[in-house]
Symmetry: C2
Subunit: 479 residues, 2 copies
């Protein structure tokens, strides 16, 4: 693991949704109207009375009895809300089933500072003075403002739905605004990825086990070996030229930072392959085959490779991720899969309140040893963005960490193939919070549209979501 933890690790959450997005989104499979609501830049104070227009998408095609219809409310995460609307097929499937569909309106609410919901337009990212109103609490208050607008008096039942960071927001929205939100489906929401709750190495251990179990154990072993071999090769001109050829890099590896960048690229790739390890071909920003980790590991097998063979084998496997279409001319390690989304926004969030400790030890995981070092993390944030986290525990103070025994009407779902699952809620704190474990699931696959290749556990998870939503609604109506 290379030092740029902010990038290499916390991007993962951003990518999380990309994993379910894909190029399909731009085709606009689902239709909605775009709405705007004027909201305060600062919901919790009055020193800054600026307002801005927040975007949300709406579809009421399937709200057959509008006054009685429920609202399925997607709590937007770190990206353009249209991507989420187009790629949360579960919500569309839930209402469009002619026989058994929910009588519900769909709302997809954009998270401030992403997509087109920019408080200060194209100056929103200029400095902390503009960007400083980017926080989860302000985002939740935006969502509450939308509900205040479209559902006055909370007459209609509202179900919050989200995946990844959006799943955290869905759960927190129910916890903090239970008068507005009847229940929440929080898919792959790592609400326990905070200090001293989930061990910092869990993410990388699960990630490692995904690679160890996809084809043969050689795969994770080879990855573990690769870091040192790559670094050694990168020490000489010849070695760097060799790496450039093998990986078909677009640019020469000239500076020390270039090599770091290659290692970061690989690190991010492993996360992304695991999160998006779906049993069917999916169009990502980089399109992937079905079961991409198995495809990768099949190419990276062998327990007896010498250094050169190992690099050659790794390079051939990387193509699964970098060039599945065969149309990419060369590998640009500076191009992350996430550039089209709110990378800068997420960096800021990760460097202010959303501090998620990560580490590796090289024994129980396939990465090089790196302890979690909050001070170092904070220093990197300051160097990169000019901000530091206020504390390491802000999110625990705000949302409770693992002390959520008063929570009700939340479904936490986690796929065991998802490295984030280790920080998900896997045991219910009480009988009003449901836990759904999806043994065959990667990152919030349950929020995707149904697919013929869906494993049985994914189909069941969606059914539980749907049944639970119906149960909450009928309880609310006293049925």
């Amino acid at each position: 693991m290379e030092p740029n933890q902010i990038n290499s690790r916390l991007f993962c959450l951003i990518f999380a949704f990309l994993s379910i997005s894909g190029i399909d989104s731009s085709l606009g499979e689902y239709l909605y109207t775009t709405q705007w609501l004027e909201v305060p830049v600062d919901h919790f104070g009055f020193a800054n009375n600026d307002t801005f227009k927040l975007r949300y998408l709406k579809n009421d095609t399937y709200a057959t009895e509008p006054n009685a219809a429920a609202i399925l409310f997607y709590t937007g995460n770190e990206g353009d809300i249209e991507l989420f609307a187009q790629n949360t097929g579960f919500m569309w499937d839930a209402v469009s089933d002619r026989n058994n569909g929910l009588n519900a309106e769909l709302i997809f609410a954009e998270h401030r500072y992403y997509g087109q919901s920019l408080p200060y337009g194209n100056k929103s990212y200029d400095s902390a003075k503009q960007l400083g109103y980017l926080s989860s609490e302000q985002a939740l208050a935006d969502f509450a403002s939308i509900l205040q607008e479209i559902n006055p008096g909370n007459r209609r039942p509202v179900i919050a739905i989200g995946g990844s960071y959006g799943g955290m927001l869905a759960a927190w929205f129910r916890m903090k605004y239970p008068h507005m939100v009847l229940g929440a489906i929080a898919a792959s929401a790592p609400v326990l990825q905070f200090k001293d709750i989930t061990p910092c190495g869990v993410y990388n251990r699960i990630l490692t086990s995904v690679f160890a179990n996809a084809y043969s154990k050689d795969c994770s072993e080879n990855i573990r070996k690769s870091w040192k071999i790559l670094k050694t090769r990168a020490e000489t001109d010849d070695g760097r030229a060799f790496l450039k050829r093998q990986f078909n890099l677009c640019a020469n590896l000239t500076k020390h930072e270039d090599v770091d960048q290659l290692l970061d690229y690989l690190t991010e790739m492993y996360s992304n392959l695991a999160m998006a390890n779906y049993p069917y071909e999916a169009n990502f920003l980089a399109p992937l085959p079905a079961n991409p980790v198995r495809e990768f590991c099949w190419r990276f097998k062998g327990d007896n490779l010498n250094d050169t063979q190992l690099i050659q084998s790794l390079a051939s496997a990387v193509i699964v991720y970098s060039n599945f279409t065969g149309r990419v001319k060369c590998l640009d390690i500076n191009e992350t899969a996430t550039d089209r989304l709110g990378t800068r926004g997420w960096d800021f969030q990760a460097c202010t309140e959303m501090v998620m400790p990560m580490c590796s030890n090289g024994v129980k995981d396939m990465f090089e040893p790196e302890d979690w070092d909050f001070k170092k993390y904070s220093d990197e944030c300051f160097k990169k963005l000019g901000v530091r986290p206020r504390t390491e525990v802000e999110m625990i103070t705000r949302y409770g960490g693992n002390q959520i025994n008063t929570a009700t009407n939340i479904v936490f779902s986690n796929g065991l193939l998802d490295p984030w699952s280790g920080a998900g809620v896997l045991r219910t704190p009480n009988n009003r919070v449901k836990i759904v474990i999806i043994p065959e699931g990667a990152h919030h696959i349950d929020l995707r549209a149904k697919n013929n290749n869906d494993p049985q556990s994914v189909i069941m998870a969606r059914q539980i979501h749907l049944d639970t939503i119906k149960e909450w609604i009928s309880q609310r109506y006293g049925a």
Copy 2:
């Protein structure tokens, strides 16, 4: 009722605590250490990274097993926290009973912008730029920061306790931070005094009934008649001189505003007498006798008074409130009882998020008819403070209004002699929220120290509080 609704009505909440404070407070009956915690000015964003020192008071004399001790946490309201510490005798009584006392530490947390917890020192009130971080949400986040500091990992059970606005904060603290707050005693907390929940006239109706029932019905009838008579007299020079003599005013009534000020003074007096209508003498900022409303009404009796008699009789009754000690030389109608507390702060809160609709109709209450007019209210706010409420429903959006059926571990207590009781929670939303009605109680008398003249219903209320706190704590420990 005169137009300055902000003053005449919403002061009531400020006065609320004065009613239980009294001159005793300055004697320092109870002892504590003063602590300071550095907290962010803005907990929810990063545009302003200023910090300030928040004050809290601590007593652990009675925490006999410090590691197992509970924390009784007073959620400070709009005033100097020392006043609350000295005047919330219930908390001191709860721990100091040798046989049956709680093993608990006492904390009294100051509300930002009051007392000595001034984010920008003596500039804190200079403009909305400094004052704009005064909000209930920021105050709750301050309280959470204190708990994060003194109770890491939430190891010890915490009970929030507060009265009036402090009671609202205690309830909301439990609702918003249930992982930190095991339960809340919310005394006389008008959490339902918001748009379309409690009719705007209820406060004045209860107030009227207190005056109608204290001695004879003449009292409220005479008050109802008095407004027109006072105004008529005030139209002429002779009449104003007459009023000045009768009320022993310090200054002449020269301007129209002076007469308004007299009417506002009386309006505020009626609220204050009712809230502080305790069955024992108490030292207020203006000291009062036991049962002050009865004392007042005894002097303002008679169903057949002519106009002159009525004014004379009223003036003699006002002395109960204005000069019980006999040491006041003349009546200064510009001096409100609340000047020593955070009047300006509360005005700002009332004109930003804490909008509590009030009205009167002159038929079911003893005041002149005045509708609730949000626009007019907002205009007055702007004229007076340069700010307007963002919406009329902000507090409902934030805290749920009457839709609090997910709340647990809260006791809402209300005295039926308290005009604020009409906006209290009088029916439980579920079996985990307790309602305590105190038929013989004025404004949060149950938080006062025990007194030989306490009515039985007050003694019982305190016992319920104590038993409930013990029950929560033993449930938490699985007993």
